[in-house]
Symmetry: C2
């Protein structure tokens, strides 16, 4: 995924010659906490936030006197990996990051909330989907898979659970909940792989009988 697919084109453009009143009006109207300050060709000159504008009463000031200058703005390029921009949010704790094309025009904004939305999707994947995929792709019978899951659960946590209850549980569990319950991603994988292997071993044993 590239930054381009993550960014939003819904942002306020502030041009360098806008009077302060106009900037305030625009940010208030569009309910934005910040916006890029641009030259006439949409190239980045700086970054203005509602914090910088708080209590500004000298309306004759130029926006360029208040803004964060370009050199200090955290930016991203539209063809960068989305992952890189996520790391910038973590590192610099900013609320939004302007996205530039390679010819240095501002083409979008990535907001913290866009990142949360994208990252959270992974956590919300139902565990049921993962089992379904195992069942289909590895050609393990669904009931055998649930039986194996109950066996592995018993072995790992000591909990006595029927295959039917296990099925019910994974219908209500997301990937995020599951890795938390297992004590981490790595443990979740190990558990799942063990389930697959137990299922295959049991199938093999049945065939031999």
């Amino acid at each position: 995924m590239k930054v381009k697919q993550l960014m939003s084109k819904d942002f306020v453009k502030i041009y360098e010659d806008y009077p302060i009143e106009k900037v305030i009006k625009l940010l208030k109207e569009h309910k934005k906490f910040s916006a890029p300050v641009l030259d006439e060709e949409d190239r980045l000159l700086g970054w203005i936030t509602t914090i910088d504008l708080l209590g500004v009463t000298e309306f004759k000031k130029s926006i360029k006197e208040i803004m964060l200058p370009k050199e200090e703005v955290i930016i991203a390029y539209e063809d960068e990996e989305a992952r890189e921009v996520v790391l910038k949010f973590v590192k610099y704790k900013v609320v939004s990051i302007p996205v530039l094309s390679r010819d240095d025009r501002v083409v979008g904004i990535v907001r913290n909330c866009d990142i949360v939305k994208t990252l959270a999707k992974l956590y919300e994947i139902p565990v049921y989907n993962i089992f379904k995929k195992l069942h289909e792709h590895l050609d393990i019978d669904w009931n055998e898979l649930m039986e194996a899951a109950a066996i592995v659960t018993k072995k790992m946590s000591g909990e006595d659970i029927t295959p039917e209850d296990y099925e019910k549980r994974i219908k209500n569990t997301t990937f995020g909940k599951a890795i938390w319950a297992c004590g981490g991603l790595e443990n979740f994988f190990v558990g799942l792989i063990e389930i697959g292997m137990v299922a295959l071993a049991r199938r093999l044993a049945k065939k031999r009988r």
Copy 2:
């Protein structure tokens, strides 16, 4: 994980009798975009943002006339599941959420950037760690695991890769990159499980020889 573990205690408290000038000064000083408005016992009365305060020149106004009233503020409780608060960020697209104790006092703030930081951690787990865990927990010889991985890669993507190169690759790959490369979490799991199974099947075959 509970909201309590995710929240920050570093937030600005605005009391209902603070003059507007003082509110502006506090938010500017602490570089905060928003803050809870509280009564004398730290109970939530409302929410104030720097957008609401933009261009406010009538300093005699009470903060209560400008703030978002309590009923409209998105809140979380400290003993709620962290997951729930993440979903609130996705749904309401807010920048931060005040955290309340069960006796309705504001005890912290969850910010968008705290969420990004926590969620991003999962994506940054090295794939190498997952293989290490497989190797240790399922007692599969490391070299056999890498050989199986090369075989499965060849089968799934047609790519010819040596076990040595596979090992190098997973040293430089994170979970986030890997699920993207596989076309989703489910596919990543299936691939990994297939690798485990191929490794086990090969061990079995060797023993029989």
